[in-house]
């Protein structure tokens, strides 16, 4: 599914990276634990997290994850947005809980990593 579809599926708001919304993602991974995210080597992944700090964007950068969805209306900080823009990472927020966002996206066709 495209990031456009991700945004509409979870009533999301794009924080940065509007120009990349045609990108498609195949897999979703929901975690607040960056240690777990760093064990993944899959491509075309959407990270769904409630951890709105700079390390969530750093972890995305290191793992070649180009899109992060922040749940429970967590708002990325200026530092996070600056790093995401530099790295071409799309940041999206949603009012949904992690469970609800994951369920909606799974229903819409996003596959789990495992």
């Amino acid at each position: 599914m495209t990031l456009h579809e991700v945004v509409s599926c979870v009533s999301g708001k794009v924080v940065c990276g509007e120009q990349y919304l045609q990108r498609s993602v195949d897999l979703g991974f929901s975690s607040d634990l960056m240690s777990d995210v760093l064990t993944l080597l899959d491509d075309n992944l959407l990270l769904i997290t409630g951890l709105a700090n700079i390390q969530s964007v750093r972890t995305a950068e290191m793992s070649d994850i180009c899109q992060v969805l922040y749940v429970r209306n967590k708002q990325p900080t200026k530092d996070m947005i600056a790093l995401a823009e530099e790295q071409g990472i799309v940041l999206i927020t949603t009012p949904c809980s992690m469970f609800k966002a994951s369920a909606l996206l799974y229903q819409a066709g996003l596959k789990p990593v495992y």
Binding site: L33, S35, I54, T59, M62
Partner: protein, 142 residues
Amino acid sequence: MDVSIELTAGDFSRAGTASSRIKKILKQLNVPPDIIKRVVIALYESEVNVVAHSYGGNVTCTITSEGIDIVVQDQGPGIPDIDLAMSEGYSTASKEIREMGFGAGMGLPNIRKNVDALEINSSENSPTTISMHVKFTHTQEE
């Protein structure tokens, strides 16, 4: 090519900047993306370990056409039981580290998974040195 970067203890806002720099260099050298990912994940995990657990340190990377040697050194306080530290799920992380999304006890095991060679030298109340090597050829596919 040699690159040496200082790592500051406790400065989570900058944790990852060394890995980011190395990632840019490896991209410029046209190293395959899957190998770059393994290198930077191992380096980033090490960087977080130094920031989270040590009194500060540095990372030195030596890059050749064959691969990359990474040496991460800190100023202590050392790892009393390396075998225990290498087991998945074991962690001595503080609440602050866990709030940053780390401290699950997956760092060292994940480093081992991503590198072709790993050596850890440490003991209680001593500096820790982690030496890693990743080849730029596909010999360790997951």
